[in-house]
């Protein structure tokens, strides 16, 4: 019996997962090079989109840092009628420090209080005439841990503080704290809203750019499907392409951001009345940079996946 011609075809090689990945990666790289212009446009779009996001993050991180600095001014002050002895200060400091929420405690004696008052009134020293060290009360300034800086937490902290023996009159600028904290919450909400809106816009733009690039290669998808490629075989190189484009876009965005940031720092003194480097301006923390890179890769992957879903059908 003669064997059918179709049964003597060479067997397909049994590709392992690694060699399959290498094959798809090589295919993706070749596709990127073959479609240089389209690749460049996509990478440029992702770069621009992520640069907008990263600029927003940089702005937000610095604003939040500044507001956090301000929130350190939320201090609970305890006033005493007379000066405390060093033993009394040590004992009271120990008791206050043991309260939940206490960050640091500082005793301000009458002399120190006058010194501070004097430095605040620099240039108007005449106002201090007749003010003796005894006029100003001794006090203890208690700064709170970050999570204890809400209105409710401060109120319950003050209630606990009142129970400590030897504590005098307590003041913490209730009204200021309330206003400041609601401003802080509003700022965070605004940041979240703008950030969310920016993210959605960026996702929309990037996925549409990728969709256009895939649409331009619709015929390739059709041919692959025609010759018996599985959906995975068709999609894999496109997904890798999307991830490479996303990573490149993120990398370029970070490079532009870093160069822009340092160019701003070194030139800001020429057009600003203050030096931003001295004002505590910070760059994005490493975790944000990692998130941007990861975001770029994910953006490329999701954009490709969403677009392919529309075009890869049997």
């Amino acid at each position: 019996m003669t064997r059918s011609r179709h049964s003597v075809r060479p067997h397909a090689s049994a590709m392992g997962p690694w060699s399959r990945f290498c094959y798809f990666a090589a295919k993706a790289w070749a596709n990127l090079l073959n479609n240089r212009l389209v690749t460049a446009i996509t990478v440029f779009t992702i770069t621009l989109a992520l640069l907008i996001i990263s600029l927003f993050l940089l702005f937000y991180v610095n604003i939040e840092g500044t507001v956090d600095q301000w929130s350190r001014k939320v201090v609970v002050t305890v006033y005493f009628e007379g000066e405390l002895t060093p033993q009394e200060v040590t004992s009271l400091k120990g008791k206050v420090s043991s309260l939940q929420g206490t960050d640091s405690v500082q005793y301000i004696g009458k002399e120190e209080a006058l010194k501070r008052f004097r430095s605040r009134l620099k240039g108007q020293e005449s106002l201090l005439e007749g003010v003796a060290p005894d006029t100003l009360p001794a006090s203890m300034e208690i700064s709170l841990k970050k999570q204890f800086r809400s209105s409710e937490a401060i109120a319950s902290y003050v209630a606990a503080l009142r129970k400590v023996q030897g504590i005098g009159e307590i003041q913490y600028g209730e009204e200021w704290v309330r206003k400041f904290l609601s401003f802080y919450q509003f700022l965070r909400l605004l940041g979240l809203l703008i950030g969310g809106f920016l993210l959605l816009t960026v996702m929309f733009i990037v996925s549409n750019t990728i969709k256009l690039t895939i649409l331009a290669r619709k015929e390739e998808l059709e041919i692959l499907s025609l010759v018996g490629a599985t959906p995975f075989f068709i999609k894999a190189p496109f997904l890798i392409e999307g991830m490479i484009q996303g990573a490149c876009g993120a990398l370029f965005a970070i490079i532009l951001l870093v160069s822009g940031y340092y160019a701003f720092l070194s030139n800001a003194v020429n057009f600003l009345s203050f030096n931003p480097a001295d004002s505590g301006m910070i760059f994005l923390p490493p975790v944000y940079i990692a998130a941007l890179l990861f975001g770029g890769v994910t953006l490329g992957l999701i954009g490709s996946l969403a677009s392919l879903k529309k075009f890869v059908i049997n």
Binding site: S4, R5, H6, R9, P10, A12, S13, A14, M15, N34, N35, E219, E220, E222, I223, L224, S225, L226, V227, G228, A229, T230, P231, F233, I313, N314
Partner: protein, 225 residues
């Protein structure tokens, strides 16, 4: 090899593309599907490679009921079917070699085996000297030969062609039909959809004539040849 049992395909409600079609094409047959535009020729071919599913009836290809296939099974059916179109459907940014090699890459062939096999099939079709060229630099006849090479490179059991000579001059038509004939001699079942009379009368083969989605004539002239 290919069986259509009472097959109806409806793209729109009132005008079915195919209506109650019954057809059997045995292994190794050479069939011309004829009929005017809109008769359902392309739809019938699309049924065979599972690009459309029938609204009613069953399609059996190589012993497998295509109607019941899942989308994950369809690629494996297509690996035994070569398809050629009037507009060639070649990747213009790739070389002739790459266009043909894609069929074997999908099957997971080794690189060195792909090189040998692609060269062999291009040589058979007389275009091995154009291996590195881009399809857009080839004539219509040469482009169709590349498309045929892509369809034939994995020795498919079935070769389908939708108006394969529609864009070619008479000389190229004869050349292309010769290639179909040779593939058929080697054992491939060939179905060509065409309304070109010159092509249909090229040789005495089975002719299935369609009109308005129905088979009007199912004639086998091969015995009279």
């Amino acid at each position: 090899m290919i069986e259509l049992h009472n097959v109806t395909v409806s793209y729109q409600k009132d005008a079915p593309a195919l209506s109650g079609v019954n057809l059997k094409i045995p292994k190794g047959d050479f069939v011309f599907l004829t009929g005017p535009s809109g008769a359902g020729k392309s739809t019938l071919l699309r049924l065979v490679y599972a690009a459309v599913k029938p609204s009613h009836g069953h399609v059996v290809v190589d012993g497998q009921n295509v109607t019941r296939m899942t989308r994950h099974q369809i690629p494996f059916l297509r690996r035994n079917i070569g398809v050629v179109f009037q507009d060639f459907k070649l990747l213009q940014t790739r070389s002739v070699f790459d266009n043909v090699a894609v069929t074997l890459e999908v099957l997971g062939w080794e690189k060195k085996d792909i090189g040998k096999k692609v060269y062999h099939v291009l040589k058979q079709l007389g275009i091995e000297h154009k291996m590195e060229a881009s399809p857009q630099r080839l004539s219509g006849g040469e482009q169709q030969r590349v498309a045929l090479a892509r369809a034939l490179v994995n020795d498919p059991k079935i070769l389908l062609a939708d108006e394969p000579t529609g864009n070619l001059d008479d000389h190229n038509k004869d050349q292309i039909l010769k290639i179909f004939k040779e593939a058929n001699i080697r054992g491939t079942t060939v179905i060509i959809a065409s309304h070109d009379k010159r092509v249909v009368h090229y040789s005495h083969n089975r002719i299935v004539h369609l009109e308005k989605g129905r088979i009007k004539e199912n004639r086998d002239d091969s015995f009279q040849a």
